[in-house]
Amino acid sequence: MNIKKLGRLVVPYLIWMCVLVGLPLIIMVVLTFLKSNALDLSTAEFSFDSWRLLFSDLTVRTALKNSVVNAGIATIICFIIGYPVAYIVANSNFSNKLIILVLTVIPMWSNSLLRNNAIANLLSERSIVNDVLNNIGLSFIWPIRGVFYDSGFSPAVVIGLVLTYLPFMILPIYTVLEKIDKSLLEASMDLGANKVKTFFRVTFPLSIKGVTTGIIMVFLPSFSGFAIPKILGSGNLVFIGTLIDSRFMNRNYNFGSLLSLVILLIIFGSMALIFKVDKEGETLI
């Protein structure tokens, strides 16, 4: 396409991104060095309190640990479930587009908070499912809502995270698997590798790109969310997201910003990783 002329269409987007991505970054960095009441600059003073707190506060450490443990376990489970599902869809004879829609988009038309609330209901001592099952002589009771171990691992929260973010693992992996040239696999078989070997030597390495994206797309929201821990952890569990939320609600923008920057650091690391494996961003959708 006519390069110089149409390229100009990007300029407004660049400005938009600068204002909404760049500017807040600067504001946040500045805020971490201040002690202020929300954004009120008239009473603000220079202070390292937030930074000191970051390294000394026990709550921060617990929250980080809880977030990492639960998000990590959820991500691993999502990968273990999501990869085979993506693989099955990519190799199925059905209309792939339809299955992918069923797997990813349609569940999202139900409100995610409501869905987690339903899971919470299922994992409580008395649930509507058990009540319905009773009528046909069955029962299902698994009261783990709010339960957590010393490591911070909470089965209910992990289940909620997995069921909420699984689609974000399936979609990118499916996208790369579907694009793999089938003749590559035939070539591999032709060269004497059996199905299992072909999978590990050809298919899997070629799908790393999608796996990377999938892992990041599941880990980041699991790590930083605060609604699911609140619903399924019954508020017993502090996550890093919970902490950020409470700081901002208490008008402590300084410490809140610092914690956000910690998350942002992880995100930039992930983005560097994604940019390395997938320069055109084709696995993100």
Partner: protein
């Protein structure tokens, strides 16, 4: 000893190589595969199913199914706060989808026309809102909008939420359109100009129709993301402008009106129905073309 193990393992391999055994094995594997697949779909839909059950439950209690009823469906628009939240959600989602689809299409065409290096940089920048944690996005936007408040004191509420939704919808639209653009013949736009289109007409008449499937995907993604968003909306609302997610979050732990289950179920069904209508219509159109073509051949 080891030779015994070896011969045993060979025997096992040979056993599985026997045609009959091999066939049974294949069938078993494929059954396991599909059972697993259906089970995962079941799990994904289990919460949605529970919500549906709750929506038909006469009792307000979340754990006690008393009687089948449609009454909550009638209640959706009875409760003022919920009705307002639903209206707000739909309004924001529709507007954000519309605006980000239009802008996203324009920006995509711009990004596509850049040189390779610049394009990659733009794609990277475009990924920021997608990969960024919702909470960081939400807070970032809130901070900027708070600064804007010095100039426009009343923006918190509808305006900020709409801007925030456009912000995280745009990248999805752009990401769905870009691959479609790179599938196009490089000379397509030039061909339009060559055949007497002015630049803007060329884009409207040729580029946009050729990437329409990408635009549609982007629209679908944008709407889905917008309607399901909680965190970003939560940080960027004000003056009591609640959407459904915020309403639900506020009601968690308290007695939630089952009307929201009814709304959720009805909305899902309407969306699915809409999708079916659209896809049926497009396949009908294809068939029509086919008929026209075959008539022409005769």
């Amino acid at each position: 000893m080891s030779s015994k193990v070896l011969s045993l393992s060979r025997k096992i391999v040979l056993f599985f190589r026997r045609p009959k055994v091999e066939k049974t094995l294949k069938i078993t594997i494929s059954i396991i595969k599909w059972v697993f697949f259906v089970f995962i779909i079941f799990l994904l839909y289990l919460p949605i199913f529970i919500i549906a059950v709750q929506s038909f439950n006469n009792s307000q209690l979340m754990y006690d199914f008393t009687e089948f009823t449609f009454k909550w469906y009638g209640m959706i628009f009875q409760e003022r706060a919920l009705r307002q939240a639903i209206m707000n959600s739909l309004l924001i989602a529709s507007l954000a989808t519309l605006i980000s689809t239009v802008l996203g299409t324009i920006f995509s065409i711009g990004i596509h026309s850049l040189t390779k290096k610049r394009r990659q940089k733009m794609v990277l920048l475009n990924q920021v809102p997608i990969l960024n944690a919702d909470i960081v996005t939400g807070i970032s936007l809130m901070l900027v909008f708070k600064v804007f408040m010095y100039i426009f004191p009343d923006i918190f509420g509808f305006t900020t939420m709409l801007l925030a939704h456009i912000f995280f919808c745009l990248p999805y639209v752009i990401l769905s359109i870009l691959p479609k653009l790179s599938e196009l013949d490089d000379n397509l736009y030039d061909a339009a100009l060559d055949l007497y289109c002015k630049p803007a007409t060329g884009i409207l008449k040729v580029i946009i129709p050729a990437i329409s499937s990408g635009i549609f995907t982007g629209m679908l993604m944008a709407f889905t993301m917008s309607i399901d968003d909680f965190v970003i909306s939560y940080f960027n609302t004000g003056q009591g402008f609640d959407n459904v997610s915020i309403w639900i979050y506020a009601s968690i732990g308290r007695q939630m009106s089952p009307a929201v289950y009814a709304y959720n179920t009805a909305f899902s069904f309407l969306m699915i129905a809409l999708l079916i209508v659209i896809s049926v219509r497009s396949s009908l159109k294809k068939r029509k073309n086919l008929i026209r073509f075959s008539q022409n051949k005769i």
